[in-house]
Structures are given as C-alpha cells and as structure tokens.
C-alpha cells in the first residue's frame, strides 16, 4: 500500500525537465515499480448519448495492444497491434482490416511508449524540455515538451511533439496536448486530461481521462478496473487472415 505522503515530496525544488519527470515516477510508485510493469488490462464504460459502451484496453510492454468494444453482446476489436500489423474490425462487415502502411509505421515508432512515454525516454531517443510554468485550467503546472521520433504524414516527415502539463504540487501530468497530424482535423490541437490518480498494482495511474480538441468538446472515459500484468492469449493480437474477428461470445 502506497502512502499518500508522496505529495509532500513536492517541496523538492525541481529545476529541469529531467527532474520533474523523475519526481513524477518517484511520486507514483518509483521507477522500479514502473519498469516492472509488463502489461495492463483496463476496463471501462464509455457513455455516449445514454449508451453505456463497455470497453477493454490491453497494452503490453512489447508494444502489442488492443481495444475491445462490446455492442449488444458482440465484441469488436479496434486499434490492435500485433507487433507488425495494426488492424481494426470494420463496423459494417465485422471483418478485420489493416491500417494504411504510414499509420502502421508511425504506430510502430511509439510502440515502446507503454507504460509511459516518459519511462526511460532517453533510451527511446526521445527528448524532453521544460517550457516553463503555465496555468492549466486554474492549476499551476510545469509545461514539458516531449519530442518523439519524427512521423511520416502523407509522404512527408513531420516533427512529433507532445506537451505535458505536470502539476507543480505533486508532479503528476494533468493534461497532454499535441497537434493532430492527419485527417480532417489535421492542424488542430488534441487535448487529453488525466485525473483520479489511484493505485494500479504498485503504481498510481489516472483512472479518468477526457479526450477531445483543445477548447472544444471532449469525451470522458473512467476506468472501472486496471489489472496489472494480465494474462493474455497471444492469438488475440494476430491479424485474422481471411476470417471474421467475431471470436467471443460474451453476454
């Protein structure tokens, strides 16, 4: 059981981005606990216009991941990555379809981001930079720029930058912003907020997030449970060549 006393470590004066990131890991369970995480299974219900949609997100340290969404007892997989192929179930045909090559290549670049993009960021070739203190929705934060490997968008290489807002009081991220790189919203800023930090195994994780366009509408998601190092069948991630992906009979 972690003590809530970690909040007190906030009195340490953090000067550099590196220190702020280190404090974040320290305050949320310690770097060793973070490194020990092999995978996670997060269960949530998304509320959309009165519809409660159960979803399950599985992420593994080797980059494999998937989201399972259940509609009317039928489970569909979205954003599945098996290490090589990124694929999703088509809503109309319920058959698996591969993402385009560029999206897959860009996804692969961030495959090492679990459990946290900042964990051992230097080994991933990422850089961090403290942009200064900034007010985020009324709370004082450190704004940190995280630069990942460049992505390729419509044939052109682009910088891949994320801005994180770390609470100056306890060093946990309250929000993340990045420029949307493709699709109709290209050029707009995406914003994800984090709250309800609670224990997940030996670390603290945000159990509630909202995702949307900065200054626009957002969609919240609250985790019911987070299971650390879950057992997952490797077959679940494999792109099902030539068959439908309806593999489960959950009710």
């Amino acid at each position: 059981m972690l003590s809530v006393a970690f909040v007190l470590t906030a009195s340490i004066t953090a000067q550099t981005a590196e220190e702020i990131v280190a404090n974040y890991f320290e305050n949320t369970g310690g770097i060793d606990a973070w490194r020990a995480i092999e995978g996670m299974k997060m269960s949530a219900k998304v509320n959309q216009g009165g519809m409660e949609i159960p979803i399950e997100i599985i992420q593994l340290k080797d980059g494999r991941q998937m989201t399972r969404i259940t509609f009317q007892g039928k489970t569909m997989k979205q954003g599945v990555f098996d290490g090589e192929t990124l694929w999703s179930t088509n809503f109309m045909t319920q058959k698996a379809e591969k993402s385009d090559a560029e999206a897959t290549a860009n996804f692969k670049l961030e495959a090492g981001d679990f459990p946290d993009a900042f964990l051992d960021y230097k080994d991933k070739g990422y850089t961090v930079e403290l942009m200064g203190k900034e007010d985020f929705a009324g709370t004082e934060t450190f704004k940190i720029k995280l630069t990942k490997q460049p992505v390729t968008i419509d044939g052109k290489q682009e910088e891949n930058v994320y801005f994180y807002y770390f609470d100056t009081e306890n060093y946990v991220p309250l929000a993340m912003q990045n420029e949307i790189k493709q699709g109709q919203a290209k050029g707009m800023i995406q914003e994800i907020t984090f709250s309800d930090y609670q224990e997940a195994g030996d670390i603290y994780m945000p159990y509630t997030m909202t995702q949307g366009i900065k200054d626009g509408q957002s969609q919240p998601i609250s985790m019911d449970t987070i299971e650390v190092n879950p057992k997952v069948d490797d077959k679940e991630f494999k792109f099902p060549e030539g068959e439908t992906t309806e593999t489960e009979n959950k009710n």
Partner: protein, 1006 residues
Amino acid sequence: MKKIVLALAVLWSCIPIANAQENTIKAESYFGDLRARHIGPALMSGRINDMEAHPTNPRIIYAGTAGGGVWKSNDAGATFNPIFDEYCQSIGAVEIDPNDPDKTIYVGTGETWPRNSVSIGDGLYKSSDGGTTWEKMGFEKSERIANIIVNPNNSQEIYVGILGALWSDSEERGVYKTSDGGETWNKILYVDEMTGCADMTMDHNDPNILYASMWEFRRTGWSFNSGGDKSALYKSTDAGKTWNKIHNGFPEGKLGRLAIAVAPSDSNVLYTVIEAEEDSKKGLYRSDDAGASWKQLNNDFGITVRPFYFSRITVDPRNPDVVVKGGLSGSISRDGGKTFKNLGNMHSDIHDVIFDINNSDVMYSGTDGGVYRSWNGGTTFEIVENLPLSQFYHISVDDAEPYNVYGGLQDNGSWYGPSQAGGGVKARDWNSIGGGDGFRVLKHPTKNIIYSEMQGAENVWRYDVNKKLVKTIQPLPTEAYSKLRFNWNAPMAVSKHQPDRFYMGSQYLHKSEDMGNTWEVISPDLTTNDPTKQNQEDSGGLSMDNSGAENHTTIFTIAESPLDENIIWVGTDDGNVQVTRDGGKNWTNTTPNISGLPANTWVYHIEASVHGKGTAYAVFDGHTKGDMKPYAYKTTDYGKSWTNIISDDVEIFARNIQEDYENENLLYLGTEFGLYITLDGGKSWSKFKNNMPSVAVHFIDLQAKTNDLVMGTHGRGVIIIDDISPLREINSKVLSKKLHFFESDPFVMNDNSGAFGNGFGAETQFVGSNGPSGALIKYLLPKRHTFGKMTMEIQDMDGNKIVSLTPGKAKGINIVNWNYTIKNPKVAKGKTFSFGGFTSPRVSAGEYKAVIKKGKETFEHVFEVKNDTDTGLSKADIDMKHKTTMKMYNMTQELAYMVYELDALYEATKGKKAKVANALNELKKTLVVTTGDNYVGSAEPQLREKMADLYAKIAGSYDAPSNAELANLEVIEKRFNNAKSDFKKLKKKTNPEELELKTFDEFINE
C-alpha cells in the same frame, strides 16, 4: 504644490491596491468549464494583411490577418487553423526562416494598411516549432511591423521593417537588424518620429542588397495625412550599413507611400508604386538597372487608388514581367508593368497576393473579405470558406429562442444569424441586412423589424422581415438643423419603454416615436463642435481620402435608462458624457466630473444600469490620440461623480463594458486584446482565455433569458460564452466550501430536433459550434481533483441510480451534461447490430438528484426536469408516450434474456438432444438475425429488429404513439407471446436447472 498633488495621486492610486488585498477575488483561476464558442460567420470572412508561402512545401500557406491572428493551412489553402490565439490578433507580417522553414516562423504584429479602424500590434514574435508555441522578441512599442526578412544564408541575421505608431510620434520605427538571432538589435535606417518603414525587400540573389521605403504618415480621430518630404526609397548594398536614396526618375516634390519589389528571377528588375503630389506622376515605376534609374509605366486607377490601403507589389517568381498590384480589385500585368487588367472577381480591397512556389497558375489573394485561391493565373478566384475573421463594429441580440445575433462589419455589410442551429451555425444560416460598411443593427423590441445602417448614416434601413420591405429612415437636414454630422459608425438606439421609439445621434440627439418616419431633435449640439476637427475634405495628404471615415465631433453612443425613459445618456467622440433626466429638455455635460481622464477622450460606450436610475458606466478610448490606456468609470449619481473601475490588470485600451443584470459587482470589459471580467466591481480584472483569443472586443451584450455573454469581435466574428450565471455566485464564502453546486433553473427537455442531417458540401466550411443542451449540472471546486476517486450519478428522489456520468475535476466551474436519458436497453445478441437498440429513452419530468462522491464525502444537488410545452402534448399524451416507450424497452430486454437463455440451452443440448437443439435453433432464427452484415449485406429483419425499430421510433418521437404504431406494436407483441410460449415448451424438454444461468436482473445489470 506639484509635489503635494503628486503625493496625493500616489496615495490615491494605492487605495485600490490596499483594497485589492482584502476584497478582491481573482476570477481567472475559477473560469473552469466556462468556455467561449465561436459562431463566425465566415461566409464574408474578414481583412487579410499579409500572405506567406512556405518556401519548399506548397501545401503550407500562412495568412496574417488584420484582426484575427495568424492562420496556417496544411492543404494548400483548402482549410486553415488559427495558430496565434493567445497573442495580439492584429498582424502586420508573417515570415518563414528559409533555412528552417518547417519550424521557424516570425510574426510581426500590427496591421500595416492603416485605415481608421485598424488595431495595434505589440511587437515581434518567433516560433521555433512551426507555430505551436511563441516567444516575444521585443519591439513592444512598434505598433505595426511591415516586413521581416531572414537572410537565406544565415538565420541569425534578421531585418525588421517597422512602420510604427499611427496616431502619435514614436522613435520605434525604421529598419532594425540583428546578427545574433534577435538577442540584440540595431536601428540601421531611421528618418524621424513621423516616418516609418512601409516596405522592405531583399535581392533574392544577394542578401547584402536591401531596399526599404520610408513613409511619412499620421492619423488623428478626424484626419489622415499621407506623404511629406521625408518619404523616400532607399537601397543598401552592404547589408544595411549604409543606405542611399534611389530616386533617379522619381517625380519631384513630396512623396507618399511607396512599395518596392525585386523580380525573383532577375535582380535588375525592380518595381515601385509611387504616391506623388501630381496625379499624373503617381503609379507604377520600373527599374531595369537595380534602382539606378526609374521609368513610369502606368498610372491607371487600379494602380494609384488609395495608396495607404493598397501598396503591395508581387512579381511572379518565374517571370519578371508578370506583376500583381493590390488595389480595389487588384491588377495583373503580363507585359512588365505597361498595361494591367483586373484580377478575377473576389471581395474588393486586395492587400496581398502570393504565387504558389512551383506553379504560377496558383495564386492566393488576401482581401477585405478573406483569402481567395486562383487556379488559372488570377482569372477566377474561389473563397476560403473556413476563415471566421468577420470584423464586427457592434452586435445586439433579440429574445427569440434560440436568440439571434445582429451586427455590422467592416466593409462587409450587416448580418443576423442564430446563436444555435441544427448541426451548428453554418454560412447558410446568416442573413444579409444591409450593404456597405455595417455598424449597428438593432431588432425592434416587439415587431419583426430590423434597423441597420451603412457608414456615416448615409442610409439607415428599416427592414420589415415578414414582408421583405425596406425603407431608408435616416434623419435629414432641416431648416433649423441644416448640417448634420454623423460618425462613420453612427449611433442608434431603441427603447425598452416605447417599442416604436428609435434614436439616432449626429451632433444632436434625434428621436422618433414612429420607427423613423418622423424625427425630432431633442438636444443642442452635444459635442465640443471644434471646427478644427471638421475639415474632412482636406484629409488624406497627397491622395485625398474623404470617405467619411474621419467625421468627428459627433455623438457616438446613446443609452436610454432601462428604468426611466426620461433619463438618456449620450457620449461623443470628442469626450463629452451628457445626460438628461427630463427626456431631452435639459442636458448636463458630466465629463468635468471625471478625474484622471485626458481631455477629449473618445466616449466609446455608455451603459445605463439596471441597478439604479443614476447608475451608469462609461468607457473611454484614447487610442486615436496615441493613448493606449484603458478608461472606464462608474457613476451612481447621474454623473455628479465618477469612480475609476479599471485596475492594473487590464493591459490595453477598452471599448465596451457590459454589466451583469443581477450581480452589480460582476462586469465584462471588451478590450483591444480580449475580454476581462471582474467579480468585485472593478477592483481587480481577470482576462478570460478559455477558447477566447486576444481579439479586439468591440461590443458586448448579455442575453437576458439565457445569460449568454455575446461579443462582437473585430476579427473573429461573434463569440459567445454560454450562461455566465455561475459567476454571480462566486464569492469568498463559496470558495471556502469543498464543493459548491450552482443554482439551476428547471431544465426543459427540448423536443425541437433542429434539422435533418447536414448534407454534404460543408466539409471545408467553418461551422459555428452550438451551446450545450441537456441538464447542465454545474458546480465549483476550489481546487482541482487529482488523486482518488470522484464519481457522479443521476438518481431519482428515492436514491435509485438512473445513470453514471463522469464529473469534471478542474479547479473552478465544472459543467456536466446529462441528456435526460436512462441507459439504452440491453438488446438480444444477433449476428449483426439492431440499430434501434442504440436508442436511450428519456426520463419523465420531475425532480432528480445529482450525487457526487469525492473521496469519502457525498454532495447532492436536486434539480427539476420539465417537459417541452411547445409540442402541445397533453399530460395524457406524454404519459402514453412514456408508458409505451418503457413497455417496449422492457420487452426488448426480456427478449434479450430469452435469447441468452436459448443460446445456453442450445449449447447444452447440441449433440445430445439433436432434435431439441434443432428446434431451439429454428426458433432463434425467428427471434434475431443470424446472417448478413451491418450494411448492404443485411439479413431479413426478425422479431428483435422489428421490436427495436418500433421502440426507437416511439422513443425518438416528440409525439404520443400513433394508431399505426400501436397496431404494429400489437403484431410484435403477439409474435413475441407466441415465441415465448414456443420457448417455454422447448424449455421443458431441457434441463435448465443444470446450467448456471444468470437471473434476469444479473443479466441486465452485468
């Protein structure tokens, strides 16, 4: 004596600070979910100052706008996104570092086509990440930056051409250079405090060769002067160390604004446009020897028109003889500048044109009405549809539901449009209600009639919306009042007390009791009537420019007290705040009672208060005298005394104030750099930044029914903050609570559906966002919730959960939206989806509770939900609809459970009792679809689909179920009953008790 006055002044200025520590509440950290939304319009867009192309990627285009910031396109101009919202929105120049074009961008603020209504800049900015973040590089007092040039061989070497202050002397003008990336700057070309750099360019083949034009110019509130002995064109061949005039072939005498362009494909070919004393000597000049000599080639109207407003020359990057000149229509020459033809049709007033970097057929044009694209070398143009840059001078609202917003625009007429519309507020939702430049637009308080006007009250229109009849009704000179002076932006007002009453202001106050048919003058000349400010026919300098825009010593604002029709306030552009308490018989000039206000400061707005007959607010704007400070005062005694209500928090001059109708200490201030809010009557102000750019707010209105704050901005259209009522409740007591629910009026479950889909065709259009609908649960958190669980449920009054919602966790105001629905029904599992099953039914009208659990504490808020009375449904109809909906909801879930049981029994009997299993399977095929897909491969619908579709039809209708629906329900019910009895019989042939089946409740609630 002086010392004592000074000491008193210091003491006086300290008092508010002392108070500030005790009683002020800084609102800015509590705005939370209060968020501005933009409704445009974008269909007429707004003024563009400077266009910039990425030097190597033709997909990327930047637009620097006159009042709406910087916009970036990633798709060659199909769509744009704003990238400079947090900073000054008036842009002079955008420059991309050619050595680092993806990342390094410079923005010089302050528009450089200095018409009467221009805003101001506050310096030079740099982005090192393609426009995501910005840092200021100085030149705070530059007011307007004309050019920025980065040496294409050395990013550290940057030149900045500063036009400088428009309304005052300033030494921060001329050409500046840095050789260390902006750490230090040297002024390398300076003439005097009246003369600034109007244009600057670099030889594309030799970065040591620079050209700069210097321009002597000055504007006041009542005149404009372009030209003088100091205007000149200079050349440097040593990277700015020395400069020489290059006037060989120039006309004699004074010069005005000069443009300069070097042909990128031939460094010897230069073009300039010259504003000269003699009309015949004005126009386009060309040099073929890099400025050693000049020849006049053309002085057509299109080339010489309004030099202060149009001066840009662009040369085709691939052909030195193709030249484009900005102008009323824009001109293009394909013979080296000898002859010109107009560019293709687009909004008039073309300020800048650029060519695509690879293809000269593709051009981008920046106009008074947005950005246009041409694909055929400038013959035809199409408008960019998602630049909501509309420049409102004024807005007003009506009391319709949803309410409409009315307003007039710089060079773009007058318009009205809805504050919300099905699928968002689109271009097609806006209606034109006047031509020319538009200013004030007012709805008649009770009739479907709209008043609008064009510049200088040349026309004041009264439009009967129902009959589409237009009448011009402006006051005309009479024998007694033979000359009327109307402001360019002439004031008008309607009365809360007499719906047909209509006021207009010239130097006199005019009143009509019959909607403008007959007029009565009810005041003497209320201005200073200073004749030295009335010589507009002399305005313009070398090019006469008497458009009416400089008319002065006029009334600018009129406010009739909402509490007493005999109390009328009038403010003039030359500094008088006049009040009458007897409907115009006697007038008192109260300006002498205001301390700390420079003489003759423009009275921009007077707000007559609802909180007391003698209470009013006055906002003064001195920017046309070079005074950029904000001034706002409050009186409670008819102007006998005035109190300063501006604090140091406000950074720039203000034009408008709006009081709150309930909380006298809550005020909204419209400034040149955005909106400010005070919770303490002006002791401290907070800038509102939630989706609110630092845009000039020219007018604010508060919609009385919705409590929406509606702003007319001069560059970003209409911006609304929905329901500001939570701000009324924020005080120190509330802030000491752990969580405070804000009061809420009963919520009406609106049945108004808005519209049928949106169709196609708006993909690249700006669509204004709608306000939230549903029950909005609002609460205040004095501190952000970061750790531990925080949940929210809607419950009935008995504490039964209806739905879980995710609560907001931000510090300050949080708003959670509940759309009145319960969970959608659990639907039987089939091969494909039953789309009807995605429908969630609404609750019945009544009282509900919002219950928030935060850590170990629980907070509750009771609110009421009402039916929409507009549907005309009786209580019996509503009950019938609800009863039928819920009956079908329950049937749907019952069927879901039956299919669950059936599937389990089938699995158990399969292979053991083949006959039973087979019968179960056959039954299932009639209950749900077992083949096909969710699109065109869908199977024949079965009971589940038919049931769910009818359920969705009834639940989704505003009306009670029709006879057809009820008859259809009977058929479905019968089939369901048959299925149930068939299943019951089959069940007897199995052993369900051997299976671990969930109960119905377990199944539904899992």
